[in-house]
Amino acid sequence: MDAPHDGLVAVVKRDCPTCELTAPVLGTLAREAGLTVYSQDDPSFPAEVAARRHDADLDISHRLGIEIVPTLIRFDGGREVARTYGWDRAEWERVAGRPGLGLDLPAMRPGCGAKNVEPGILERLKIRHGETGITARRIAIGSGEDEIEAMFDRGWSDGLPLVPPTEERVLRMLSGTIRDPQEVVGLVPSDLVPATVEKIAINAVMAGCKPEYLPVVLAAVEAVLEEPFAMHGVLATTMYVGPVVIVNGPIRRAIGMNARGNVLGQGNRANATIGRALQLVIRNIGGGRPQEVDRATLGNPGKYTYCFAEDEEGSCWEPLSVERGIAPGKSAVTVFAGFGLQGVVDQKSRDPESLSRSFAECMKAIYNVKLAPACDAIVVIAPEHERTYREAGWTKQQVIDAFHRLTEIDGDDLVAGARGMAEGGPPSLAGRRIGKFRKGGLLIVRAGGGAGMFSGIIGGWSASGERGSAPVTREIRE
């Protein structure tokens, strides 16, 4: 079905009060000026037009680029020469080239959204018309084949079922960013393959992300691909670590991330799927798979997904992102090579020195009490512990300084063989005080539910800092 070469064309739908309003005018123009009317929904609408046409598959509407109904267009020799939408008498008279249209109608009424641009329909039309610009290889799944099983068979999965990345879903995912789908975000280890926005979007679909999460996923991918993060080493190490993603700024609330109760647990779609998408990018684009380049001895459950938001509104301290150089009010991700969670239970301390000592003693145990410096760490401070610092007026820097001071260990205890344990360092440690953490290697994040004097420590990689992986913070481009 082709639109007329010459004359007037209108696109309408019954489910639009303004289209109903203009029906008598459409009837007049059809009878007297050869108007062709396409109905997007009801083929019997408008009754006033005898030779109305039904744009059932919306191809005409799509080709004409209709966004609002009613739309009135004049063609001359196959070329569009005038267009108006909604009901505006003066405009309709201009386009139709006839005075005195709809004199009994109000002068102006806004139109309604066209059916061909509704979410879900627009994507299908773009696919049918070959307009998506998506370049990824299409993989045909047989009609008798189970899509979920087919994806497992192809090795795309982290072990859990994936959302099938159809062109329609990927197109919808790409609507979450204004970035060019073919923009290369970085080279993903271990194969050092260019990751395009489109490839990342495919993996985000599989992870279960919504389009509005995509900017966070893109920023997280960019962050882990920065040289200081050493993603290749984080992937290949025999140690436990994987990328931990902390989200700051307005986007946390916009996309409904959890920063409160069970913040590090299950149950929030954004937290769960953003972290998962990052891991799928490493797996599928970079080719980093367990027992291949990923040589982890144990790994940790966070290698499925490890992503959460800071409770900035509940915190007395500046957000992690601001502390790390991002302007207040901007959204950002911080990535950290981390693993697991070690609890810090202290239900009795009511002064910051006592509480800090509790934290410090727990932190000294990371890896082994005989090892220092051990690694970087994130300390996730829960509200009821933060309250103690808040009431004492401690800044975040004071807390960090206290943690460094209180986690210094007597070198005599760290020497190999001391305290009856063969593990430990060289004899030269004796007589010195050794810090458990490198300066700059402690991050504090305020998160968690309102009840419970239970904080947590996320340990890092033994190769923390310049010799291995350092945390990276990156602004989210929305």
Partner: protein
């Protein structure tokens, strides 16, 4: 029929045949690469001594850190100076 979009790099790995292993080391230079893992040198020192006892020339190399691949310049240097390479992992 459903069409899914390929989430991978779409690189079919091309298998590159390895160089054949020499039957003997006589007359060859052996590169010994320490990847900077603790105590890797203990093992490699022993190996170096054994090779030298047999009159086989060796050259020693060290990666700056075990957390990253060897820098390109080092890989190129090794490739031009030796005939075979032994790399020691530790732990």
């Amino acid at each position: 029929m459903t069409a899914l979009l390929d989430p991978t790099s779409e690189r079919s790995p091309t298998i590159r045949p390895r160089l054949g292993r020499p039957d003997r080391l006589d007359g060859l230079v052996v590169g010994i690469v320490d990847i900077s893992k603790p105590r890797g040198d203990v093992f490699l020192d022993q190996l170096d001594a054994r090779l030298q006892e047999r009159g086989i020339a060796t050259r020693r190399y060290m990666k700056p850190t075990m957390t990253r691949p060897a820098p390109l310049a080092l890989r190129q240097q090794i490739g031009t100076e030796v005939h075979v390479v032994i790399q020691g992992l530790a732990d």
